[in-house]
């Protein structure tokens, strides 16, 4: 090793579920090797063996405390797929609204409350001119809460925090880091919108609660449909009053997304244009179609499919859960993961038998398996979904992508193109685009549900019946963090095998038996590191994927001594 080489380990980047560890070797101020691993065995799929498939969703929604609804819906879809059971159209719309409201909430929280601090320097707010901040914000959108008075009040709030000697929720940021580039006024706008985002994401969560019965663990799902009684004459059922209170909440969120979140992401991107050239990594992209529009789930509002090597002209659509192309392509490889079987296994044949060794850079080093699509590593998440939409010419995806790129071009004074989306900032931009698309679809699916109920259709449930013998099913969902699939094998009405292939598994994948790195690992290569003890740049790239695990940074010198350990939240 030469003297400029350092190894950095990131161990407990976000703090949601499980633990993520990232080891990085830095040479000449750049990342030249990276390993992503999970440090915690959960094996919770094994809890499901032998159980009634109709109850599986009650357990799977406990997989993750934040994506509860996501795992509930993938589970019932898997069992319905195994039974070839269509569900009433009201049930599709109600589930779609839950999925959309959850995603709106989750994407807003990801930007403002999990990752904005990678780009925003809160201490710079004290140097900001509130009137100037207000005029910048008003030049970006018509949002009414951007007045000079509002900006001045937020500046005072931050001053109070700094004067108290504690930075409260911002205590974990890298203040004054050389990689921070926003003007003071833009930092002030970001903090003002951080506070407003706390309020608006809550409205989206209230929609989930209204339809789901409660949150975080929804009660209204069933294999065969939903349990929301629909009766326009009853105060206890889903009626017009409830539908319109939901609409009022959705309208607020829609306005926030289109007038605050999207412009903010474009502004941040416009001030960090160099981050369109870092962090591409694995450019095979996987997403699945979602928001079914018919009872048998054959038509969808959001497209999905596979894009090899970032080449949009080679986009291969996935038509639905029954598409043989999709059903055959997914495998998981445990060559570098702490499980007994090594070679790639289809999820229906998947095994979860632990075999722990120490962390070995050339051997097994993670509790996460390596999922592969037709044998290749694939990146999942909003970027994969937006690229699928762009490649397939989905009108809403194209409209919002082009709008975001033109806004970024105006701020950065460089021409932003779709090719620049293969990057750390591209993932943030794509998440904002997807949220804007979903904000329009929220209104559409609310209208579809309302019209159908007013028409007199109150059907919500088809009774499932389990055949003798063995059946297999897969339920997929394009979740906030990307493609989620639950794979179930049912034998005489009881669960014989169950595997969840979750978005973070695709992105945090370790190397496979061919030695191919996963998306996090590949995306970190070549990232600049200004200060090895404060690897802000690493956080930017890892956070851009929205990992669902906690992570910390250890920096090592060439002799393997720990130079610094940074907990990353």
């Amino acid at each position: 090793m030469i003297a400029t080489e350092k190894r950095i380990t990131i161990d407990p980047i976000t703090r949601i579920e499980g633990h993520l560890r990232i080891d990085i070797e830095v040479d000449q101020g750049k990342v030249n090797k990276a390993w992503a691993s999970s440090t915690m065995f959960r094996g919770i799929e094994r809890i499901l063996l032998g159980r009634d498939p109709r109850e599986a969703w009650l357990f799977t929604q406990r997989f993750c405390g934040v994506c509860t609804t996501v795992h509930a819906l993938a589970s019932v879809r898997a069992v319905e797929d195994a039974l070839n059971l269509p569900i009433p159209i009201n049930a599709q719309y109600i589930r779609n609204l839950i999925l959309i409201a959850h995603a709106l909430h989750d994407h807003i929280v990801h930007f403002y409350h999990l990752s904005a601090l990678d780009w925003v320097d809160v201490t710079q707010v004290l140097k900001a001119d509130p009137a100037k901040a207000s005029s910048i914000a008003e030049s970006l959108s018509d949002w009414p809460n951007n007045s000079a008075k509002e900006m001045a009040a937020v500046k005072m709030k931050v001053k109070g925090l700094v004067d108290s000697g504690q930075l409260g929720p911002f205590a974990h940021g890298y203040w004054g880091h050389p990689a921070m580039k926003l003007p003071p006024e833009v930092n002030l706008i970001a903090v003002a919108h951080y506070l407003q985002a706390l309020e608006y994401q809550r409205y989206a969560n209230q929609v989930v609660a209204m339809l789901g019965g409660k949150t975080p663990h929804i009660q209204n799902v069933a294999v065969g449909g939903v349990a929301n009684a629909i009766n326009l004459e009853s105060e206890a059922a889903l009626n017009l009053d409830r539908l319109y209170s939901m609409k009022a909440l959705l309208d607020k969120v829609v306005s926030f997304v289109q007038n605050v979140y999207v412009p903010d992401v474009c502004a941040v991107a416009g001030f960090y244009p160099d981050w369109f050239s870092y962090g591409s990594g694995v450019t095979n992209y996987l997403s699945v179609p979602d928001l079914p529009l018919d009872e048998a789930s054959t038509k969808y509002d959001l497209p999905g499919g596979f894009i090899p090597n970032g080449d949009l002209s080679k986009f291969h659509p996935i038509t639905g859960q029954k598409d043989p192309y999709w059903r055959k392509a997914v495998t998981e490889d445990s060559e570098h993961a702490w499980y007994k079987s090594g070679g790639p296994l289809h999820p229906w044949k998947g095994e979860t038998d632990p075999e722990f060794t120490d962390w070995k850079e050339d051997g097994k080093y993670s509790w996460v398996k390596a999922p592969r699509f037709e044998g290749q590593a694939a990146q999942v998440g909003p970027l994969a979904n937006v690229l699928a939409g762009y490649a397939s010419g989905n009108p809403l995806m194209v409209k919002w992508t082009d709008a975001a790129l033109s806004k970024i071009s105006a701020i950065a004074k460089v021409k932003a193109t779709p090719a620049m989306l293969h990057s750390t900032l591209g993932r943030h931009g794509a998440r904002a685009v997807r949220t804007a698309v979903l904000s329009e679809l929220a209104v559409k699916h609310w209208q579809l549900l309302t019209d159908n109920i007013v028409k007199g259709d109150s059907a919500i449930f088809n009774q499932p019946e389990f055949p003798k013998g063995e059946i297999e099913g897969v339920g997929f969902h394009e979740a906030p963090r990307g493609t989620l699939s639950h794979w179930v094998v049912i034998d005489n009405g009881a669960i014989k095998n169950y595997q969840a292939v979750v978005p973070t598994t695709w992105n945090a994948s370790p190397r496979d038996s061919k030695g191919t790195s996963g998306p996090y690992e590949a995306a970190l290569l070549g990232n600049p590191i200004a200060d090895a003890a404060h690897p802000l740049e690493v956080l930017r790239t890892v956070h851009s994927f929205d990992p669902c695990m906690a992570c910390a940074v250890h920096t090592f010198d060439p002799q393997g001594n720990n130079v610094a350990k940074v907990k990353v939240l």
């Binding site: 407990p12 703090r15 949601i16 579920e17 499980g18 633990h19 915690m40 065995f41 959960r42 094996g43 919770i44 094994r46 809890i47 357990f59 406990r62 997989f63 993750c64 405390g65 934040v66 509860t68 929280v109 409350h113 999990l114 709030k157 925090l161 409260g168 929720p169 205590a171 506070l195 706390l198 994401q201 809550r202 969560n205 409660k214 949150t215 975080p216 663990h217 906690a550 939240l569």
Partner: protein
Amino acid sequence: MKTAIYGIGNILMGDDGIGPAVVDYLTSNAMLDGDVTVEDLGTPSLDLPNYMTGYDRVIFIDAVAAADPPGTIRLYSREEIAATPPGIRISPHEPTINDALIVLDFAGGAPRDVVLVGVVPQTVDGGMMLSPVVAGAVPRVAAMVMDEVAKRYAA
């Protein structure tokens, strides 16, 4: 006074499920007024502030890392929560109650009164059973929660 009782923890992870288990016990056995919310929040992470906003007092039940033997019950005041985040860092639910309080203290809307009834776990490995010593503590934890609820009449 608007009060919430929240169980925190993952029922799939052994004794980490103590919070939800106490909520189940209270739901089946306790007489609670209509203005008291009782909920198993699982591991809500960054969403925790959403469930605290609008309440005057919140009583949490959670597994805590402490040197005491498994099954030991301890009450933590708001000041103690703020001073030493007692959540288990190896369990799958970080942002702690402390993090949620910090956010709400800055943004506004934090409950005035917050207590945590913590229980020391024996194991937080995968599995849906509480270990016997922790399961045995459930009625005592529930009684402690009810004592806290009763204090609002004295307040």
